[in-house]
Symmetry: C2
Subunit: 653 residues, 2 copies
Amino acid sequence: MTAWHSLNQLHLECFSNSLEGVPTDVCVYCCLAVKPSLYPSISAFKSDSTETSPDREIDEMATKKAVLFNLWGVVVSPSPAEVFLKCEETLKLPSGFLKKVVIDKHSAMERAERGKLTLSQMIPELDAECVSAASDQKVSLPAGFSVKSLLEELRDSTTVNKHILQTVAMLRRQGLLTGVLANQWVDDSGSGDSSGRLLSLLGGHFDVVLQSCRTGLRVPETDLFTSALTQLGVPPKQALWLGDDEEGVGAAEAVGMTAVLVKDLPEALKQVETFTGVQVVTGESYPASCNPEEVSHGYITIKPSVKLHYVEMGTGPPVMLCHGFPESWYSWRYQIPALADAGFRVLSLDMKGYGESTAPPDIEEYSQEQICQDLVTFMDKMGIPQVTLVGHDWGGAVVWNMARCHPERVRAVASLNTPLFPVDPSKDPMNFLKTVPIFDYQLYFQDPGVAETEMEKDLARTFKIFFHGSGDKDNVPEINTAGVCARGGLFVGLPDEIPRSSILSETALQFYITQFKDKGFRGPLNWYRNVVSNWKWLCSRPRAKLLMPALMVTAGKDPVLLPVFSKGMENMVRPHTHTHTHTHIFIHTCIHVDSTCDCDISVCQIPNLTRGHIEECGHWTQMERSVPVCVCVSVCVCVCVSLHRPMEGRLTV
Amino acid sequence: MTAWHSLNQLHLECFSNSLEGVPTDVCVYCCLAVKPSLYPSISAFKSDSTETSPDREIDEMATKKAVLFNLWGVVVSPSPAEVFLKCEETLKLPSGFLKKVVIDKHSAMERAERGKLTLSQMIPELDAECVSAASDQKVSLPAGFSVKSLLEELRDSTTVNKHILQTVAMLRRQGLLTGVLANQWVDDSGSGDSSGRLLSLLGGHFDVVLQSCRTGLRVPETDLFTSALTQLGVPPKQALWLGDDEEGVGAAEAVGMTAVLVKDLPEALKQVETFTGVQVVTGESYPASCNPEEVSHGYITIKPSVKLHYVEMGTGPPVMLCHGFPESWYSWRYQIPALADAGFRVLSLDMKGYGESTAPPDIEEYSQEQICQDLVTFMDKMGIPQVTLVGHDWGGAVVWNMARCHPERVRAVASLNTPLFPVDPSKDPMNFLKTVPIFDYQLYFQDPGVAETEMEKDLARTFKIFFHGSGDKDNVPEINTAGVCARGGLFVGLPDEIPRSSILSETALQFYITQFKDKGFRGPLNWYRNVVSNWKWLCSRPRAKLLMPALMVTAGKDPVLLPVFSKGMENMVRPHTHTHTHTHIFIHTCIHVDSTCDCDISVCQIPNLTRGHIEECGHWTQMERSVPVCVCVSVCVCVCVSLHRPMEGRLTV
């Protein structure tokens, strides 16, 4: 089984296997056994708070506009040559015997790579060629020798290089184009989906993927390089080649590209940095993001006057992402591809009132009862019986309320920042709001039209004020959610010119602006205007323990949804034990958090509540800690949990 | 495990279990072990060719506009009362003991049904009530007695009544509204998805589902009936109630409805027929269809100038449906809900040039190479490594070409009507077309603009001519695809007024018209205008055996894609053995086709090719044999196959 092959297979096995006996090398997303080098491992992401600005636009002076990678030895490794060399040793064949058969200009492998043969046709021909070569060279082939097992060895040892995928994400973030040139045959073996998974992964991460078996051209033929550059619309002088052999480097240079011979990967990546001007090694890493124009957009009519919009990626168990105020499906842009790559089907919603979903004017359309009913209708119409729900901010309130009131439809639930607030039938909820000074903004939001006017006045300023990171310097002013009514507005007293936070790229800012340009803030603010009806509804519902797997992630620097608010949750749900921060934590040998990480994940002794805490993180968790140290781990814990029976037993610390 | 509970679970188990040892009661869709009464079984559908017109519009004189069903004892059975009675016998409790505890006005079950308690809260309270009642009545409870196991017994014995779902599909087809009233508790047990699956199934099949635990009202309270009718917008006089007890019947009558006490189901359904004017028993059955306004619509940009549109339903392994000429995603309207109910994720495409997908003007955009590349890009952007492809007509050509040229992305392949035509590099394909008289229409289609003009002139007439059923009477003229060039047009010689075929409802006709109104036939006809480039492309590709699971379904009365054309396929793929028609056929005890069915399914000795044949079926297979005897069986065989290793061994006949 290859590394890329294993993902979905393993997920599916999980439905019938228990977690017991899972080996310690685990997929960082799905938490299942897989080769650890499959994908950018979470522990590889840096967690220091000195993040460099993610919105550094591409330096116009940088001459490099595209980077092409060789598949073998760069994007995936080892290369076939390396595997063959190893096999020659194991099989006690003369060194170079296999390579010589294979690199023959008319060898079956060469013809397969040119698309003249498929894999299933190549195997017997290559077998015959090996026998013939052995006969010519008076070499005796060992008894068990077969090309099929050689190729299985190649397939089983192939892993995708996480650093290259990271690099590609960074380059594309800065507007560079990327491509893969791949000497590959058509895999018609019908045995598993390893080839399909690799092709899908490449297709999702690179701008262009050129396979020799479909173009008829192999690396190091110069026409293949030219073809890729033509497709990308980049002149050779502005393109860089990363290859693992001299021939490829020579070909790239022959067409006018700059070329790097990859021997030591960190060294090669430094050269990428030099050539492109993009800090792929020294900068903060960002996972792959979503381009709104490239992803799949879905629409469902919930009722004649209400349509919901969602972005969808991946196959597997469905995971629904619910954003908060004032956001978008796009707030999950870093989590969507990661979860999709991990073998889940992600549905990231524009919540009612936002983006391409309908924004009816009436306040009662935004009651939690109605919002939850809309989600149930969404699932009914989609034919989805159960879903894992992940929410943030108001989306967190929605997912807890779904778990409370529609538990049949919730496979598991995860909330970022938003705790499960207790419901007290004896306490007037408006009075409660008044007792918490930092909730004063919610009182200010009550009058229809007032906050709308303030927030719609200058959308760029509004989002620059809202999207504040915990690591921002003092020149980025932080919003004060207390005393809002008294000072007559949320933004009163803030300067006209607000610097953009390091957590928000210019591209992202512009996207948020487009999403609010037409519909404004009335719908989004209406979410706050159902305080009493939400309370009445929840009081009317039975209040039982939440028995599905649940995850609560707190953020240490959230100025409104303080971690302390989540303190009572265990009493409502189940008691839990805290574990130490800054340590290796294994959940059933299942999740590995690096020791340098400030993320604290503890699991209840009683299995259903898992906790995560990200100390160096403000309110906008998915954006600020997009480097998925914690959010992705956390989300994936929940998703993992959602695939299993609740975890039992204690953490191994 | 309940019947509705089992579907996805079983699918998932299949990934790790072999087919061996699967019991003989099988899910008719997924072919896996499941209680046979779960869902309208395929063997229950009639296969006679004397189909009544499916487009009989609702009789305006019929007074009944809505039918409400009681959940327990009607939509699902047995009722809790029956199960408790049985348990009393088994546990040697006095008859009526459990019922008396449970129906107490303040019993925990009554409070749970009103939504005052959840299931997990109800169980210990009901346990205590049983103990207390036993003490009061001097009854000794048996050692192992627990409410939890009683409820498990209830859950495990519950099956959805297929005849009711059939009836609901027929009623909705004729424009009637349907609803379920359900005395149910909130299931927060977190154990499996049985409740979620039932709710999702009900939500997908009925117009309104009212649960007592969310409304606070139980059957037989009259307010619950009134509430349902208000939601449907139907006055009581126009509504019918089907219940299993006197109390419910009394309540329905009290609010002014007509009520039927269901004792004998066929008898009750006859009464539904009488009251509604819809032939639910005596007419031809139709499975649930799709309402274009109710389903999820997705869009992906393949490249800046090309967008693909699809309709999506269900969760599970992805199955992509590719329609033919001149059709729509909507041509799979009967298969979409059936596959979704069976636990698959259906993606039904508007192929390029059709409906809401883009229709670029250039001929080369419609070459098979380009169409297949578009599908690969679609999968890359959706994050789907592999898919099961099902095609019909031109869609059949696409799925075979995907299987030939992109086998990595094809989990399994199924074609209706369209065989895998051999590719002969020595034969000019235009000359080949000229040798087959019934392919003359394809020569007529070559000149851009000509056929467009003829077909766009009167869209209603065009579709009434095209969509002809094999069982149509002589007054519905059949198209002659030979001699078209000579007579100067495909429709030349046909009358102006064409009766609508029995396979096409007025609603469906109007939908097709809207789909072609803007874009016309240029894109669709361009599919035919790449004869030489398609041939050249296929000649350039390696021609190997197709090793993924494959299914070929032929239609006995297709005037163009004759079953005989598929005869050579075994030589190209693998030899197969034919089995007899009109007999019980079991594939690994997995699929049961009724002996009265004219469907012939044979499986190759070598496992990858499965065949289906539908004798009484013309070209429009999905519509004409929507009664899914064969199409659904066939599709599901393929899907089933796609979940397993290829089936081995012979049929048990």
